[in-house]
């Protein structure tokens, strides 16, 4: 099925035309709100054959006030060979999105990684805690305001590295 047909299917699942665009690289990008996410993904999985969750990741756009954080889902229909990208924009004060672990078992660690890096809470996740960083880390490192380097290191002189 091509992207236009997929868009009509998504419109019928959601009941209204979503904010969607087909980008220059052949991928349909659909933007939904956090409340509409489960309905859309469940419809895609059960009715349109998107049984494969490729990836979940987060992103931080601090200049988008009201929608600073974004959770990006990539789904894949293996039979019809169709991919779709779903994005959920979240503001810093309401950083919660429902979990997909009920639909895809593989979403478990993907959501934990997104929580670890950005602090996005996944409502209903069975075990939401840090996965890659140390448990006692008190900030979410991939947010744009934090530096890459460990600021407390003494053996490297930043002036030599142009920082």
């Amino acid at each position: 099925m091509d992207n236009q047909l997929l868009l009509t299917h998504i419109t019928s699942i959601m009941g209204a035309e979503p904010q969607a665009e087909i980008d220059n690289y052949g991928m349909l990008n659909v933007a939904v709100s956090a409340d509409a996410l489960i309905g859309l993904v469940e419809g895609l999985k059960s009715q349109q054959g998107f049984i494969y969750l490729t990836d979940i990741c987060g992103a931080h756009y601090p200049e988008r006030v009201g929608g600073e954080f974004e959770v990006v889902y990539h789904l894949h229909n293996l039979v019809a060979n169709q991919r779709v990208r779903i994005k959920v924009a979240l503001s810093e004060s309401a950083l919660t999105v429902p979990t997909l672990t009920g639909l895809y078992a593989g979403a478990n660690w993907m959501e934990r990684e997104t929580f670890d890096f950005y602090g996005i809470q996944f409502d209903g996740h069975p075990d939401l805690r840090r996965i890659l960083n140390m448990d006692d880390m008190d900030y979410h490192p991939l947010r744009k305001q934090y530096a890459l380097e460990d600021e407390t290191r003494t053996d490297k002189n930043d002036t030599f590295f142009g920082r």
Partner: protein, 182 residues
């Protein structure tokens, strides 16, 4: 042609050979170093190639690799050590019995390498004392062998009392490592 280890200087006679104890022990130690390969990432794969038939670390006496700190002499740290892993590394070092040597293989173990990030320990010498550093990313097997040969030199020429000396104890204290007597 098999190259054997040269005998040390000493007095030879009919059925006996007399030399000093530390020379004999030095030769024995340096030619039978049993390594503990603490392989974490890419350097570990180069180490596996070094152990393989082409580069053959076993001919230096390092035939018996063990992953237990209790039975090994040389801690070869190969790969990136993150801050999460640092306490584990220190514990493994503590569990080894004296005399022990540490070989830091690869840029990540020596200084953090290309990963100047919040989660990577910038060099294992922040937590344990290191004897020989082998730079490279990853170092070729020949370089790892040269690192081992330098450890062999250190083991051969080490004084028997070094591990009991005050200087050594002070160095261990600077790393917050309890020395054996305490």
């Amino acid at each position: 042609m098999v190259k054997t280890v040269d005998a040390p200087e000493g007095i030879e006679g009919q059925g006996f050979f007399a030399t000093s104890l530390d020379k004999v022990i030095g030769i024995a130690r340096s030619n039978s170093i049993w390594p503990l390969p603490f392989a974490t990432s890419c350097c570990g794969i180069e180490f596996m190639a070094t152990m393989g038939a082409n580069y053959d670390l076993a001919r230096f006496g390092s035939e018996r690799l063990a992953f237990t700190p209790r039975q090994t002499d040389l801690l070869m740290v190969m790969g990136t050590i993150s801050k999460k892993m640092a306490p584990v590394l220190k514990q493994v070092y503590d569990q080894m019995a004296e005399p022990k040597w540490v070989l830091s293989v690869g840029a990540c173990a020596c200084s953090g390498g290309i990963f100047d990030t919040y989660s990577v320990l910038q060099g294992i010498d922040k937590v344990i004392p290191v004897d020989v550093y082998v730079p490279g990313c990853p170092p070729r097997p020949e370089q790892i062998i040269e690192g081992l040969m330098k450890i062999q030199e250190l083991a051969k020429n080490e004084s028997l009392r070094r591990r009991d000396s005050d200087e050594y104890k002070k160095m261990l204290e600077s790393y917050n490592i309890q020395s054996a007597e305490q």
